[in-house]
């Protein structure tokens, strides 16, 4: 069967399975995830990946590992991802506290609007821009991922695949974090941790003869520990130093008002579309992330607004609704395009993508990578059906987001009042409990907290975390691919340089390191 039939089957798949209150489970899950994500995003200090991390072990405990669990679990996670980007604008606009780093630019104009009594208008503009950006990005994903995957599968052999992973890791090391040396340190550490307790030999290497380490560290403990626990501990340290410096955080009185007319919306499109384009392009490259997209989207909008501003309209930074729209469209457009490298190459580009890959690797039914979009000459490729099922769920989530996301967003504004002193310890305990639910051993909790402290250490020394986690996830895949490439070329020691394509990929990796070192040096 061709691709068209697979798309149809994918759409059908989201209606399959049990129904709750007459709504198919898959659809219920993605909507539930969306609302939960808005709630999380609206809570300052919480971010989408945190919620995805905590939800994943619970979802696996409920739905199991079988292929039928894939759509509900990944659907819920996708919902969180979408909702959290939207929700992040709420505290930024209402309280001048960005819920997530990429909502920082939203505060520049959103909060002045609130001060002028236009909070509702700002929230509506954020909703409109965020959902538009997200939708555009999803469309690009659905159009590009299958073709990129087919291309990769047709043209890349095992040596080239090894080289591609090396190139991706180098790129991530270069673009994330404060210096390329620290990025490479993070990659090296991530790879090394991945290699502990794995290997081909019967004796699990580097396991110190300890049985508990023999199977490697529990994946959930490494990833959630360094990403989530580390972040929570770091936030606690920050809160402590703030308490010492300036006493308690003060509360703000707010007034929600203001209208966003259809005409306003249409004129905002001139800012939303370029931002969505910027966000999509950045999202498709692994490792750059939504913060840069928001920054670029904002400054692009600023330039445009500077040229076209009418008399009496507020400038960027003084409560321009265009500023909110430019930022939100850009950071939301990252999320869909981020799945392009995930689904077509199996390479995660940001924290949200890490948890999606973890979910897909734990649950049967879809192994991210080039084989997902292979069209069989007869019969069906169930992975492709799953992929299109996920796409359908994403489109559906966008529709729901269009319809009611704005209202849910306004309801969630109360969350910004929860003090961090209650929130942060609670997140820590929920993460601990959630990991225990999946691993059922205190040993996993010791690993979790240990990697949490490791994550804190990395934050204190400004070694970037994400390259560490991405290298950890790709480490064993890279080694396996390289082993196979070595065997398949009849033990050619120069297999990484055996074809023009792989030479090009490896040269690009070297070039990236040189360029970024040189650029940083100049600064």
């Amino acid at each position: 069967m061709g691709m068209a039939e697979h798309i149809l089957l994918g759409i059908q798949a989201i209606f399959a399975g049990p129904a709750v209150l007459g709504i198919p489970l898959n659809i219920l899950m993605v909507i539930g995830g969306l609302f939960f994500g808005i709630f999380i995003g609206a809570t300052p200090g919480l971010a989408g990946p945190m919620a995805m991390a905590i939800a994943l072990p619970i979802l696996i405990s409920i739905f199991g590992y079988e292929a039928s669990a894939l759509l509900p679990i990944v659907g819920f996670l996708l919902g969180i991802m979408k909702g959290a980007t939207l929700g992040g604008a709420v505290p930024a606009i209402l309280f001048n506290t960005p819920g997530t780093p990429d909502a920082l630019m939203t505060t520049y104009d959103g909060y002045p609007m609130t001060q002028k009594g236009e909070a509702r208008k700002a929230l509506k503009a954020a909703h409109f821009a965020s959902v538009s950006g997200d939708t555009i990005s999803d469309i690009v994903l659905i159009l590009c991922a299958p073709f990129l995957a087919v291309f990769v599968e047709a043209y890349l052999d095992l040596p080239e695949k090894s080289a591609l992973i090396i190139l991706s890791l180098t790129f991530i090391a270069a673009v994330m974090g404060t210096s390329i040396s620290k990025g490479l340190v993070a990659i090296g550490l991530g790879l090394f941790v991945a290699f502990i307790g794995s290997g081909e030999d019967f004796y699990p290497r580097l396991s110190l003869g300890v049985d508990a380490i023999a199977g490697g560290f529990p994946i959930a403990a490494v990833v959630l520990g360094s990403l989530i626990i580390g972040e929570v501990l770091f936030a606690m340290l920050e809160a402590r130093s703030q308490t010492q410096q300036q006493g308690k955080i003060k509360q703000i009185v707010l007034k929600v008002a203001g209208k966003l007319t259809l005409k306003d919306r249409l004129s905002l499109l001139a800012y939303i579309l370029p931002s969505a384009f910027i966000g999509t392009v950045i999202g498709a490259l692994p490792g750059i992330g939504s913060t840069l997209a928001a920054t670029l989207g904002y400054s692009n909008g600023k330039r445009r607004h500077h040229l076209r501003r009418k008399e009496g309209e507020p400038a960027f930074g003084q409560g321009a609704v265009q500023g909110v729209a430019s930022t939100e469209a850009a950071n939301s457009a990252v999320s869909g395009a981020n799945l392009i490298p995930v689904l077509s190459l199996g390479i995660p580009g940001n924290a949200a993508a890490i948890f999606l890959i973890l979910a897909m690797e734990t649950v049967d039914g879809l192994n991210p990578g080039p084989s997902v979009f292979r069209v069989p000459s007869e019969g069906i490729n169930s992975e492709m059906v799953m992929a299109f099922g996920l796409f359908s769920l994403m489109i559906l989530a966008n529709l729901v987001n269009w319809l009611v996301g704005g209202q849910v967003m306004q309801l969630m504004s109360i969350m910004a009042r929860v003090p961090r002193q209650i929130l942060m310890p609670t997140v820590l305990l929920v993460t601990i409990t959630s990991v225990y639910a999946q691993e059922t051993s205190l040993y996993a909790l010791i690993c979790l907290l240990g990697f949490g402290l490791f994550g804190l250490f990395m934050r204190l020394t400004s070694i970037p975390i994400l390259p560490f986690v991405i290298a950890y996830i790709l480490g064993n895949i890279l080694e396996r691919t390289a082993r196979q490439a070595f065997s398949s070329t009849g033990a050619d020691p120069y297999f990484l340089f055996s074809s023009p394509t792989s030479i090009l990929l490896m040269l690009s990796a070297v070039l990236i390191i040189c360029i970024f070192t040189w650029k940083r040096h100049k600064k």
């Binding site: 405990s61 490479l184 340190v185 090394f192 290497r205 340290l237 305990l429 059922t440 402290l453």
Partner: protein, 189 residues
């Protein structure tokens, strides 16, 4: 948190990482991996288990070496002694929390056994309410309270009560709807 803005902080970090990496390269890897860089299997060369970790360590060595040489002006870092204090603090809080979660229930049962004629065993009773929550809720309340105190430099009795309630709610949230989910420590006993 005390801030520390020496230009040398990255140099120290580089040196620290370099020392660890050299230790791994010359001690840990040779002693703790059974196959070499390349092995001969079925009259062919295949990649051994040592190659990948060695490559990772060499990457760390190169990167930390360039960190030492770069003299970069890095972000402020907590001073060494305040850093040690913070890590010591978190480690002790986590240790106490896990110990309370793990041993409070069994300890309670042995107390019951001591004071009465009963011969109970926590393992067999780990499914019984409210015993199955005992270690978790007490340990969890302790963790939340201590960390909140850490952030706020103070802690009211009302907040401890709130934390007890939060922990209890989390326990209910995980335990009630999901039959298969276990709370700490009930999967370990």
């Amino acid at each position: 948190m005390a801030k520390f803005t020496s230009l040398k902080s990255d140099m120290f970090l580089g040196a620290f990482l370099l020392a660890l990496a050299l230790g791994a390269l010359f001690v840990w890897i040779p002693l703790d991996i059974d196959t070499g860089l390349v092995e001969r299997v079925r009259r062919r060369n295949v990649i051994g288990d040592t190659l990948a970790p060695t490559a990772a360590i060499i990457l760390i060595i190169l990167a930390s070496g360039s960190l030492i040489l770069s003299r970069s002006h890095s972000q402020p870092v907590a001073s060494f002694s305040s850093g040690l204090r913070i890590f010591g603090y978190f480690i002790s809080v986590f240790t106490v929390t896990l110990m309370v979660m793990r041993y409070l229930g069994p300890l309670f049962i042995s107390l019951v056994n001591e004071t009465s004629a009963a011969e109970l065993n926590y393992r067999n009773l780990r499914n019984i309410w409210p015993l199955k929550y005992l270690g978790y809720v007490v340990g969890g309340t302790f963790l939340l309270s201590v960390l909140s105190h850490f952030m706020d430099n103070g802690l009211s009795r009302r907040r401890v009560a709130l934390f007890f309630l939060i922990t209890f709610m989390i326990a209910l949230f995980f335990d009630l709807p999901f039959e298969d989910i276990l709370l700490p420590p009930n999967g370990d006993v």
